[in-house]
Amino acid sequence: MKALTNVNATSFAEAASAAQSARQQGQAVAFSAGGTDLLQQIKDGTDNADVIINLRTIGDGRSIGSDGAGIAIGGLVTLTELSQDPLVLSGLSALAQAADSVGTPQIRNVATLAGNVTQRPWCWYYRNGFNCFKAGGNECFSVNGENGQHAIFGGGPSYIVHPSDVAPALVAFDAVFQVTGPNGDREVSAEDFFVLPITNPERENSLTENELLTGVRIPTVSSSTVSTYHKIMDREAWTHAEVGVAAVIQRDGNQVQNAKVVLAGVAPIPWRVQAVEEFLAGQQIGEAVAREAGEIGLQGAQPLSNNAHKLPMISAAIERAILNLAAG
């Protein structure tokens, strides 16, 4: 591995300041929590960090707690902790299931909520050193290349798909993201946190270069709300979603009062399918309704030359997720 300097941060604010000063001295900086993906990127040369700001020495950001307003989850909570926490399991099933579907136990034991949500894309061009939009270049090689894993919604000029399973669940739960930077703290809704390539083709979210995601807050979920994350992969485990669906439904018996449905693996950001949400409101959950919701989920789809296989997966994933949430 290239020569680098590890800096142990003791607070998020200190981490942001340390990143700012290192950058002012001309050094490339990376924040690290679990570090698994970052180290591979450094070894591969797709991340050229001279300085790693190590966040695991920070005491904050490791707890999951509830108050009158909802559930607060620290950014440094590991995916293993997230998938096993009683509060998350009881009230936020989709989030626990999404966390549990990531990678392998070894990865989940160190990987964090914030790291999963802010990880870089897994497009094979970007990961193999092509000078694409994500690497600061001016081209998306998937357009005329191998695009079997690329975006069906929201693409252009880059066609990456957002790699996180956790992020769609957070969007579906209307989470608020907490961000710390050299100039202080700010909050942004999960939906506004992620940005389409038409806005910024180089980055996947609204973090500026010295900012970090430090935690999320999820507004109180009613006791009549149920949720699930359904992930379809091209093998049984240990990979990103071909298609994932986070569905959060507030229901009265089997009647849907309110639905949030967010897709993974098909767009450069967690992709809300509002047409499905609107269709579901007022419907009785059942096989015909679930099937129709799956078909509606394809509205606006623009497959590339090699990724149309995801279309029936999108319909099937939505259908299964909704049927999972039928009462009794």
Binding site: N6, T36, N54, P105, Q106
Partner: protein, 224 residues
Amino acid sequence: MRDDKKQGKRSEQAPDQDPAVKYVDPLNPKQQSRRDFLEGTGTAVVAGAGISALGFPNAQAQSSTSGSRTAINVTVNGTGHSVDVDDRWTLAELLRDELDLTGTKIGCNRGECGACTVLMNGEPVYSCSQLAVWADGANIQTVEGLAQNGELTPVQQAFVVNNGPQCGFCTPGQLMTATALLNRNPSPSAEEVKDAMVGNLCRCSNYNAIVEAVVMAGEEGGVA
């Protein structure tokens, strides 16, 4: 650096544990271990110089720029070590190259194969994907920490009985993940074993035998 006597002693002890494996290999009548043999012929020196050319880590050899160094304290298999580490060293490199614990294997060196799995504070992690400096203050267990006084743990013994290792390269990582599983779930079902060990690949595809070994270890009383 490496304690040849200790290594040799361990490899000679193993056949005495179980009379069933007491035989003389006609090609290796002195029952030298593969490592003893390689070191005896000087191959190890050549291999050491060539490792970085093959893409395996040799931190000092890979860059002419010297990196930062940090003094850390880490407990490995119950023994405390104070080590001055190069910040770019992975935990796997620290274990293998500095502490001579070469039981931990580096397969893919990118968090995909699981051969380098060790227990960090009791939980399996990929040691190729952790910086050594991040292990400051941690308690690490490697495959060398399993057998005590030459006596295999039940899961190691179950790997022997079920032919868990074929080429054996993934075995140390498999054993560590299985050990963590058995510590928290002393009698796992085959499904639970598969779930827990999904992050350990076996290129020989010996998965059935590995699952059977871990299930057997559970049936026979876990790791303790």
